[in-house]
Symmetry: D2
Subunit: 177 residues, 4 copies
């Protein structure tokens, strides 16, 4: 089985990012299985410490995944600090961390009209900087995301079809284990 | 007295960012006093909660400051997650938070050759996005910062002179309370 | 009279950017007059030459303006090369060109859904880098701009009202000559 | 033979970018041949016209290359307008131009201390936006480039060795025609 690790950038219980990630992981192509990383238990990054077992577990999840799917909201024209904090923990040593060479896909969401496109720009640059391989597809941005949830389920059929096509391309291009 | 609030982006005990911030705050112009914000006690941002008294204190510090000085390292081509997390807490409501109209200065540091210039680009964009007024001076980047500390004291005279000139301009341009 | 110089980033005859700029300059506050810079006659930037009289004229227009209003489309996630080329000509010497200290406003337009927000990010960074003072307002992005033209006239009343409010703030904050 | 097309971002006769590009193309791995694109003859981009034979030639060069190597200076915290203008001509239709899927490498140069790292960030974002495949290697930035030329020849051995290693990786990863 090909393994996808999903990472949502928000901690809110009713987060649109989490809902979109659930929808993506529920519709993976045949032969691909998805799991979700939890970033809330990670402490603040501080290189004086190793971060404890939660950090080790997060790094191991990334290492064992064939590809990563990020779904992130936009906070203040960038990604949430809490998502960047999780990335920081798994980013050492520079240029040779578990992110190096790791295939990644990005989806951004917002409550506003622009779908988190600014946050996506920053995340792409951060991932490139760690030598991750960001899937070169048309950017997936989801504006007015909260209005597209029904009882916590993201169910915008047109957007899901657009996402699924890119996820299929992404999964098909993953190196076979 | 004009009040400057200093915010360092790293939590390390021996952080170069903290050392540079100490040097800046120790050399403020006459009539200007500096204090330091602590970002390590802030929880992970989650809009389901208000973050407790540490968040309230952090927001109050920003609100009562006449200007902010950020000194940040670069982690993975952007600012540390923990610094972005602190900013996220103080950023609501959008376009009308304590950052709106707040004069800000940015200094970036790195152990490498480029002085954190990439992190500075992201921080500037984030601050602009909250309608803060980023001081329009030549970017202050400090490469090989750890080598410029002596027993925890940043003492590169040429860089300090360059910084002090900009800090003086920044303080002189602050609106009088 | 306060003088505003408008700069459109596209050369197309039927450009939405030009149409939006015409609408902005036709609605300036009382006591403010607007003129338009032409960037098409400028040669490709090459510091081996001075660019000739068209470059001298462009620089003089910027120097004598109290504020600049850019209206730009987005080409390939950034500003048009032709707009950047014009900026390059007027950008010397570094940090001390006619852009240093010059108040600027940015409006971006696109045929798509995101209104040129990516181009706006690059233009803001470029202007900041020359020490221009970018007006710290909420970003003005105009999606589906071509659909909002009627016989070459931009007439979306809601967007024009939003723009006019920011233009008024911008003009009111300009240093008096 | 694998074909590399080199594109320099400056028009100056004594350009450091051109000198670095010459050095790169003179040291390509066995089985790889390099040619240079000329961007100075291209007119200003204007979608009302097709740009003429120079544009057609430039697009054909990109189409027939197995990979592209950009060497760019930094003008005002971004790439030169003249380089962006060339890219704009070859960028249509969006997401399906000759850049889509094209392997690209970036080298930036500057006269100052930061090696054009800001320009590199913008170029990477622009190329990603056209679905080009930017080689995920450590960024190659060359500070104080003019001082590293000897009679127009770039001959900094340490930097050339660093570049050649990445160029070899890049060429080895190119899809075989």
């Amino acid at each position: 089985m090909t393994k996808i690790l999903g990472i949502a950038g928000s901690l809110r219980a009713a987060s649109s990012s989490k809902a979109v990630l659930r929808a993506v992981l529920a519709n993976l192509p045949s032969g691909v299985e998805g799991t979700t990383a939890e970033i809330w238990p990670l402490p603040h990054y501080n290189s004086d410490h190793d971060g404890g077992p939660e950090v080790a577990e997060f790094i191991a999840q990334i290492a064992s995944a064939d590809g990563l799917v990020f779904v992130t909201p936009e906070y203040n024209y960038s990604i949430p600090g809490v998502l960047k904090n999780a990335i920081d923990w798994a980013s050492r040593p520079a240029y040779a961390s578990v992110f190096a060479g790791k295939p990644c896909m990005i989806i951004s969401v917002s409550a506003g009209a622009l779908g988190g496109v600014r946050a996506q720009a920053h995340l792409k640059y951060i991932l490139n900087g760690m030598l991750a391989h960001v899937h070169p597809g048309q950017e997936i941005v989801i504006p007015q995301a909260p209005q597209k949830l029904d009882q916590g389920v993201f169910n915008d059929a047109a957007i899901l079809a657009f996402i699924d096509a890119q996820v299929s391309d992404f999964c098909a291009a993953l190196p076979k284990a």
